[in-house]
């Protein structure tokens, strides 16, 4: 009872193979010693990982994406934390409308946000700037940060705060010593998810990035549109490895499944 039969396990094996196959092939191909896409049948080589270092365009795009992810996820969290605390702990007119509005970018296709920002930024002449990218990314990732802080703050027992007050704690002390530590896992995981979402974002950025502000996903996308070579597979293999490490950390921190419940945006 409640044990998988052989048929279920066979399905499971195929499903996992389906999930892992494209990631595995990227990693395998990146070790090819040859100058074109091929399975490394005779010998492995780190040649293409070395080639990344000689390719300033990928290096620059990586640093740009990293900076962009850090800046925009910090801004998004700074905006989302007070809003989430207000929504979860107060009852006020317009509360549902405000919460729905702040989550609304999740309902807007990234491509629509991309053209909207392209049009808007061109009009005010900031298109292709780093500032423009930050603004666009903040809008796209804020709902993720908001949702995770909301979940943490809603699950909090208000009696704990009242207890602190009754014991003579001042409001700021209550916030710093009681409220903040209790919602901290939500804040940290929300910030991390926001960072990853920004770091991976392609569809919106492809519209508002300029040659001097090309993010890593955009650089890779443009490269793939042009040619698929072992260089781009080596970059991808590094990203897969980095994400695996982050994923392990996130799973330790909150449990990966809790991060995604309720739907998310990583549109194909």
């Amino acid at each position: 009872m409640r044990v998988n039969g052989p048929l279920a396990l066979a399905f499971h094996a195929l499903f996992i193979a389906f999930i892992l196959a494209p990631l595995a092939i990227v990693c395998v191909v990146s070790f090819t010693p040859l100058g074109y896409i091929s399975l490394p049948t005779d010998g492995l080589s780190l040649r293409w990982f070395g080639a990344i270092l000689d390719n300033p365009r990928f290096i620059r795009a990586f640093w740009l994406s990293l900076t962009l992810g850090l800046v925009s996820s910090l801004i998004a969290s700074a905006l989302a934390i007070p809003a989430a605390l207000a929504i979860s702990r107060h009852r006020f007119p317009g509360r549902d409308a405000i919460s729905a509005f702040l989550l609304s970018p999740l309902m807007i296709p990234s491509i629509v946000l991309g053209v909207a920002f392209l049009r808007f930024f061109s009009t005010i002449r900031v298109n292709g700037t780093f500032g423009g990218l930050v603004v666009g990314h903040v809008i796209i990732i804020l709902p993720f940060a908001l949702r995770l802080v909301l979940a943490a703050a809603t699950g909090m027992d208000p009696a704990v705060e009242r207890a602190a007050v009754s014991l003579g704690a001042r409001r700021w002390t209550v916030f710093r010593r009681v409220t903040l530590p209790l919602v901290l896992p939500g804040i940290v995981s929300g910030w991390l998810l926001a960072f990853i979402t920004s770091f991976d974002e392609l569809t919106m950025s492809v519209f508002i990035a300029s040659p001097s502000t090309t993010t890593l996903p955009v650089r890779m996308f443009l490269h793939i549109q042009d040619t698929i070579d072992p260089l781009v597979t080596a970059v991808s293999a590094l990203l897969i490895g980095g994400t695996a490490v982050l994923m392990w950390a996130l799973d330790r921190l909150v449990g990966l499944e809790r991060l995604f419940v309720g739907g998310s945006r990583h549109s194909g």
Binding site: M1, A8, F11, H12, F15, F18, I19, P22, L23, A24, I25, V29, I37, A80, P82, A83, L85, A86, I87, I98, L102, S104, P105, M107, I108, P109, V112, V115, A116, F117, R119, V138, I139, P158, E161, R162, F199, D200, L202, T203, V206, F207, P217, M220, F221, Q225, I228, T233, S236, L239, I240, T243, M247, L250, E257, F260, G263, H266, S267, G268
Partner: protein
Amino acid sequence: MARSRAAPYWLTAPALAVYAAFLVVPIASVALLSFHGFEFYGGIQPGLTLKNFRDVFSDSYYWEVFGRTFFVAVVVTAICAVLGTFEAIVLQRMGNPWKSVFLLVVLGPLLISVVVRTLGWALLFGSTGLVNKALLALRVVREPVAFMYSVTGVVIALTHVLVPFVVISVWASLQRLDPAVERAAVSLGATQPTVLRRIIVPLAMPGILSGSVIVFALAASAFATPAIIGGRRLKVIATAAYDEFLNTLNWPLGACLAVLLLVANVAFLYASNRMIERRWQAVFRESAA
């Protein structure tokens, strides 16, 4: 908690101000743009017109694009719903540590850039041809199948990108399922397939539906996967809008496509969420109690 009545408004004000300036205004400006005319030599024309919408709806090319987008989204959603539901049920029945390991394997790819995941499929379909080699070796097909630049290829890669959303959503609703219900059914003589069909799937239905809604919305507006696997000729709405903005430079027409996608997406999400809530209210109330 004794707090001033204005506090929640002050706390939400910064986020609301940012949204007003950088979400409402850009969306409104692109909506407005879709009502402007366009001349190849004169650029964007002053004066409002419905010409773009008339052009789009009277051109068989765009109907083909709409049809393809819708077809891909429906097929991807159906496949994701079936595969994702079964996988969630299998995962639910596993013991630890396998359960958490495989949950990580299934959900992890959501954190990896969609460009990387699609590149993997491009390698499997095209450059290495591994999928065709496997199919030929297993004698599933007689001749190599053209996956690259085909709807089949787009559907397979998009299914891979989006199926975790169904797994996680079904998995969440299975967590609320009381194992006693299943045991009761078995003790009354139900076979495993009957338990699955009559007990588990109906109780997981809210999860299956909400996961499918997310998958459909994301599949219909997908950009990277159709652009890489579908190539330049196999357009969907998102890649067609990209073309108008960055290649043809007919921004008003691209804005028109984007507005149509936005309206369809929001209407679909709103309608389906209301439908699910109304239909499954009883289930939600029960599980909340």
